[in-house]
Amino acid sequence: MLTMPAVDEGAISAREAIAADLARLVAPASVIAAPAALKAYESDGLTAYRQPPLIAVLPANTAEVAAVLRYCHARKLKVVPRGSGTSLSGGALPLADGVLLGLGKLNRILAVDYDNRCAVVQPGVPNLAISHAVADRGFYYAPDPSSQIACSIGGNVAENSGGVHCLKYGLTTNNLLGLEVVLMDGAVMRLGGRHLDAAGYDLMGILTGSEGLLGVVTEVTVRLLRRPPTARALLAAFASNEAAGEAVAAIIAAGIIPAGMEMMDKPAVAAVEDFVHAGYPLDAEALLIVELDGTAAEVDELMGRVQDIAQQKGATSLRVSQSEQERLVFWAGRKAAFPAVGRISPDYYCMDGTIPRSKLPLVLTRMAEMSERFGLKVANVFHAGDGNLHPLILYDANKPGDLDRAERFGSEILKLCVEVGGVLTGEHGVGVEKRDLMPSMFSEIDLAQQMRLKCAFDPEQLLNPGKVFPTLRRCAELGAMHVSGGKLPFPDLPRF
């Protein structure tokens, strides 16, 4: 079971007093302390873990966020930021003795600036709402996580979220221009703006993907892109995962970077087709969706080349979208993969490792063996272009031992990803879920270095503690490692 930071019983017994204090900093209705109401916040998208917070606070603006953080800092209360609660790694899992800071009320689009091709938004704005707001002018915000209707842009920044189009257009971090951030002590800082590149150290770069451990994002300036004039998608079916994988490699080797390149294995296709009726071929062992965008002539040309490659690699069927509506139907299936799998199994556990693509056949074979061994089925969706795997492990939480087996199966998959040269998480974050696996990828020194960076932002480690790092070490202790590192066996300066 997961160990979380030692609980501060004092905070728990002072709940009512703390709630009363907070109610002086924000609108009283924005402080939630009733156990029944707190249940709404007890988990995020990683529903296997549940823990109601001490109190939930819903500030309405940056000043209120700063006031709440200043108060919590002074009172040494832990704080867990939360956007829309769709994290799949438990990043927004509350703490029994911690204040849950919900950013949902900061939900306004503050400015759209076409001349500078950017939008300034509050963190609670849902990802897709940005694209909707600028659609009439032909613009959009590129990163498109499948959860984009619900997930907040602040959560996207905290997780450095990706999406099916990030192969060509990048992750969140590649699409940000500026942030306003409140540090744990309540200080407000602004990074970037409508211009490019950090002035000095790229703190925006490390805040992005920091999973709510370094600061609370209260404003985001995102890059807007012009929608390409044409986009078409190809569905290509293959008789084996290997063949599909080879087609992916060959497309990239041919110098083509598709707007999106997704793969699904047979169990995933079956689940999705049953749910969405996207017209996916049910007899395929592997299905590829390749989207190409650009001018009409360019898309036609590239589509021809991609079809040729797919055919050479043994595609058993090929279908090109003939209309925008059909293209969206092709994607609707892929984007609904998680809920679709949710229909065929009482529960599923979504993994998120990245591997060098050439290792795909090996990883899928080993995963099939594990599936046998653990007695749990697995369906695979895969951001094939960038090697980001999403194995969905099917289990039933009501069956004793099933969750535990699913978690062990998941850990083995992720360790395998690292073993073949990949990483533990491609886009969902470490959170609590992969926290204890961090040592399989990083040495103690690597992790201590990261923790010292955390200490630079939050020396008391009050902001989202218990996430990302397997062991909580006090900042003073990490500093002491410095000192012992100072006693060194090299009295003379080397000369060579």
Binding site: H195, A199, G200, T208, I256, T354, M438, Q449
Partner: protein
């Protein structure tokens, strides 16, 4: 002065440990080509990464390349060209920084976060920097990031090291994202009467779906210094817009862009187009040679022309990134002028970096801009280099 050129990571570790213990500063360099960028470092010992050189792994269809940090850029460019790939952030060879023909090392390019005209569409060096091994200021070897194109495991330390000018850690091995190089390029040039017209033309067309991946404005005197005949020919200021991609796509977009412009335009094909963008990327040959201080400004693109006007630059400047980057050649190399220049930006947003100047000026000011609270930045610095021995003073006077 002594120069150390370690041949292995353990030699780097030993050197740094010894210096950390003795609290002696180290100047860190790749090939030293960018030593004019930033403030002078007062250190008796220079540690050069040149001895750690070579590509360790290059997998074109995985889109990643791993190399020792001291690998010369020329070697990287050659390896990529052979597979028709490139670094999409288009790092300059760096002549502006006074390095002659030396294009520097991959570690130096990343440490200074250099990127070229494609930066607005393709990202900066930091956007293509996937992972590293490094030695921190205590002589501890550590790694962060990964060797795959998509990774969010742990803090994104490559972003922090990109642009940190060797003040946080010494990178030993780096992994970068590589991409297919565009097959073709063309540039549409538009002679314009003044900067406002030229700038407006860039701002307008960048909002269309032409996928412009280079957008510059050259004042008449700057265009006159170009080695490209068609750029000199109009004898006026001009806006230049580059289109790259597959031949069909480039031809299409070029025709559409010219039609949309609805004014007299000229088209540069492959070699000329390449030559022009190389000049724009390298800057040096286009701006007056007798300059005392070269500045790079990053500003909201729509404000480019206004800032140039406010600074009263005459013609000793040019604009890239659709107005978002200004290169300015100042005759005045005083600290007061630097303050003036930075103050002009405060109302508009953006920042200014001194990229070349006399040592007196480089000593007198913070060569790099600073946006976060200094106390936080110093804690960040101390988390990697607690004794402050790595390139002290290179970016800022105070650390």
């Amino acid at each position: 002065m002594q120069r150390l050129q370690p041949e292995s990571i353990s030699e780097v570790v030993q050197t740094v440990r010894a210096h950390a213990e003795a609290r002696r500063p180290l100047a860190i360099e790749g090939s030293g080509g960018k030593s004019g960028l930033g403030r002078p470092v007062d250190a008796e010992t220079t540690l050069s990464l040149r001895g750690l050189s070579g590509i360790t792994s290059y997998q074109p269809d995985e889109l990643v390349l791993t190399a020792w940090s001291g690998t010369p850029m020329r070697e990287i460019w050659e390896a990529l060209a052979e597979k028709r790939q490139h670094l999409a952030f288009e790092p300059a060879a760096g002549m502006l920084f006074g390095s002659g023909n030396e294009a520097g090392t991959i570690g130096g390019v990343l440490a200074s976060n250099l990127s070229g005209p494609r930066r607005p569409s393709a990202g900066a060096a930091r956007d293509h920097f996937l992972g590293f091994s490094a030695v921190n200021g205590l002589g501890e070897e550590f790694k962060a990031g990964g060797k795959v194109v998509k990774n969010v495991t742990g803090y994104d330390l490559p972003k922090l090291l990109a642009g940190s000018m060797g003040t946080l850690a010494i990178m030993t091995e780096v992994t970068v994202k590589v991409l297919p190089a565009p097959e073709k390029q063309r540039t549409v040039i538009v002679p314009v009467p003044d900067v406002v017209t030229g700038h407006r033309c860039l701002i307008t067309q960048l909002q269309e779906a032409f996928e412009i991946d280079g957008a510059a404005f050259l004042p008449a005197a700057v265009a006159a210094r170009s080695g490209v005949d068609l750029v000199r020919a109009p004898g006026s200021a001009l806006a230049a817009m580059r289109l790259t991609g597959s031949p069909v796509s480039v031809a299409d977009r070029c025709a559409a862009l010219r039609a949309a412009l609805g004014m007299a335009t000229e088209e540069l094909h492959s070699a000329r187009s390449q030559a022009l963008w190389s000049e724009i990327n390298e800057v040096g040959s286009l701006l007056p040679a007798e300059t005392d201080a070269f500045w790079r400004l990053s500003v909201p693109p729509a404000s480019g022309a206004r800032i140039a006007d406010e600074l009263g630059e005459g013609e000793a400047w040019m604009m890239d990134w659709g107005g978002g980057r200004l290169w300015i050649a100042r005759r005045d190399a005083s600290a007061e002028d630097a303050t003036r220049l930075r103050q002009a930006l405060s109302a508009i947003g953006g920042h200014a970096t001194l990229v070349r100047g006399p040592e007196s000026l480089r000593r007198a000011i913070d060569a790099f801009p600073m946006e976060a609270p200094p106390a936080l930045l110093q804690r960040v610095k101390a988390s990697l280099d607690p004794h402050g021995i790595l390139n002290p003073g290179r970016m800022y006077r105070s650390w």
